[in-house]
Amino acid sequence: MNSPTREQISPYQMLALMFFTRLASRTLICPTTMTSPPTRDLWIADAVSAAVAVIFVVAVCRLGEKYPDRSIIQYAGDLLGGPVRVGIGITLAAYFLFVGAYSARMLGEAFTMSIMPHTPLTVFIAGITLLAANAARGGLEIIARAGELLFPIILALLLLLLILPFDQVDPTRFLPLLPNGLAEVIPATTIEFMFYLEFIVLGLLIPHLRAPEKATRFAVIFTAANGLFMTIMCLIMVGIFGPTLDALGLQAFLLARMVRVGEFFERVESVLLASWVLSTGVKISLMIWGFCTCLQQIGGLVRWRHLSYPVGVLLTASSLLLFTDVANMARLLAEPWTLVSITSVLVLTALLWGGHILRSRGENER
């Protein structure tokens, strides 16, 4: 109907976008450790959350496949009526804004904590948001192409960062495994799962997919692969940092700092910094695009692109004002935000499925 719906992306581009969405939140500041489970079992939280996320992704994609030309907001209106459509649109817009805001803040905090302590946060946040808003203004295809281009490069660099410090992994640090049962890792699993809910953006992406009928297959394979990647990364971190893992503010950064090959190949953390900027940039642009698309579809706007810069400004302001400091952000994400996002996204998905089932029954009865 409008310019966004005419844009098309390939399944591979969708995978790249999902990769950056998840990567940015997992390799920056990790609030999961704030739940203080035995750190040696954190990798189980990664694995279990990915498994649960597969179910969530199937729920979102299957629904999308049933309405291949409609976004999540549009078929919410078809299924549940106009007011619910507006409600869901506003909820999703707020969700994308918040996700974009904490992603930008995480990047800013990570740079301030790691290499540039004197540079004001605003510079990082405003800088990355401006670039992201500019990309979002170009449309989904631009973001997707950027993701497609960067995906193999960043994946290769990250794999390198995981392989190089492998010699320092002590497998005995994983023992004893779950001494007090699985219940101990539930809080950490919940937080990790909360980040997977960002895949709700698939509800907006599927109508743009060249082959929407394959959305579920690709999304499931990728969510599982993503979960495997994150679990391996966590295993390596546990194997290297052991009981001190929960004390580390920037785990992936410190992991990169552990790289030393042949007494000469070291100080490769700049690779990670580059991947942070690129992956967070793609993620924020996707969130800005998501926010604009929500507004467009709620308000029935003909054009949405002019919204991207104002949304970028709003996102920058939210990023700076919503959190007082890094500890406050981690606490906010670990506790209230986990509860709010899980509740709202799952309720929203359940509502849509309920509407779809009722409608299908009605059609069958007719």
Partner: protein, 406 residues
């Protein structure tokens, strides 16, 4: 077109503000710290004395003969209530900004180490400029600032010399338990494992008088030697392990890459054979019987014969060869027993990590003994089993024998 121009202006502006104006540091304004020493300012004062060897790049980068006489580092120190304050106070004397990213060693004076090093760990692990992969070292019977005065004859930069000394020790001798700051912190936080770090000693080399001749001698009066291991209980140093004891710990913890072992000569009393261990694998296990833990150390070592102080052809007689293999195993076993005695009786510190093994292999038993592990460890029965194998005999197929042709 207007849009492109606007974007160009924005990106030029961004590129100007994003290069790190606030954190901009030109290389010529930095003072590269290469080794740092930690002591108390004096016996009666609390606080930290932070001594630092700062590299003089203008001396290193020159090939003028006269400049070779100049020390390539500047030794300075500053006091503070905390390491962070002392670090900041370095700036009172240093016209350049102290830069920690290239620091390679944290040397702690014995007195300070005995009082506990926990108070400095926060600075070295929290500050983004410092790195966890620096070597942690303790000076025997001296202050760290004294050690920082020492130099090497063959290496102008002490940091580089020390780095190579530690590398050689780890790869070819194995008579110390080397530890990076990361390992130290890990051991400190791990239940049932006490930290151990390399011990250094200052070696006095008084001048032997003026040397006449054309070559100017840059005399090194004090040098550095690796001298065993400093053993900690929690963050406090509790004593030393000598070379043999340190190697005993290294055998058990699978830290030996290569080393040389002296065993009795296969045929003659009072003579010896030198073996070079080329491959060694150590393993520690803890078993529990009737609620009582006991430990087992298993080591498999492969060695080459590199020297016989008297002629003999042990490879012609398999029994003699076998006897040497048994001697190799016996020697390793004896070093492990020495280390165990030192750790259990003299130091009461589980530097082997038997407690850690117990916690991982039998967590339910560990729960019962963790509170009194230091006492339990003293009484822990440890069985040592070593297998030695000699594979090669160097370039000789028989020993050199004086007057053999006659």
């Amino acid at each position: 077109m207007k849009y492109q121009i606007a974007m160009l202006i924005i990106f030029v502006f961004l590129s100007m503000v994003s290069v790190g104006c606030w954190d901009r540091r030109e290389i010529e304004t930095l003072a590269f710290i290469s080794i740092v020493g930690i002591d108390r300012p004096d016996a009666a004062t609390d606080g930290i004395r932070l001594s630092a060897q700062i590299i003089k790049p203008f001396v290193i980068g020159t090939e003028e003969p006269g400049d070779l006489q100049e020390r390539p580092f500047w030794l300075t120190s500053a006091d503070g209530r905390t390491a962070g304050e002392a670090s900041a106070n370095l700036r009172e004397e240093s016209p350049r900004i102290p830069f920690w990213a290239h620091n390679t060693h944290v040397v702690v004076g014995e007195e300070f180490a005995r009082e506990g090093v926990a108070e400095i760990l926060g600075f070295f692990t929290r500050d983004p400029e410092t790195r966890r992969r620096v070597h942690m070292l303790v000076v025997r019977e001296a202050r760290a600032e004294q050690l920082l005065q020492a130099e090497f004859e063959l290496q102008r930069l002490p940091a580089l010399g020390l780095e190579r000394l530690l590398l050689a020790s780890e790869r070819f001798i194995g008579t110390t338990v080397s530890s990076e700051l990361h390992d130290f912190v890990m051991a400190l936080e791990t239940e049932g494992l006490e930290p151990a770090v390399t011990a250094l000693r200052i070696v006095d080399r008084p001048p032997e008088g003026d040397i006449e001749g054309e070559l100017a001698r840059d005399e090194v009066c004090e040098s550095i030697r690796i001298d065993g291991t400093a053993v900690f209980s929690s963050d406090r140093m509790v004593g030393w392990m000598d070379r043999g004891e340190s190697r005993g710990v290294a055998w058990a913890r699978d830290r030996i890459q290569s080393t040389k072992i002296i065993v009795p000569h296969p045929t003659q009393e009072d003579e010896a054979a030198t073996l070079r261990v080329t491959d060694a694998a150590g393993r520690m296990e803890v078993e529990v019987q009737d609620g009582q833990p006991s430990a087992r150390v298993t080591v498999n070592a492969c060695a080459d014969l590199v020297e016989l102080t008297a002629p003999a052809d042990p490879f012609l007689d398999y029994r003699k060869w076998q006897a040497m293999e048994e001697d190799l195993a016996g020697q390793i076993e004896s070093e492990i027993h020495d280390a165990l005695r030192a750790a259990q009786d003299r130091l009461s510190a589980d530097v082997f990590g038997f407690g850690q093994c117990l916690a991982r292999q039998h967590p339910e038993v560990w729960e019962d003994v963790r509170a009194d592990w230091s006492d339990e460890f003293r009484e822990l029965p440890v069985q040592v089993k070593v297998q030695g194998e000699i594979r090669e005999s160097g370039l000789l197929m028989r020993a050199v024998q004086p007057g053999r042709e006659e």
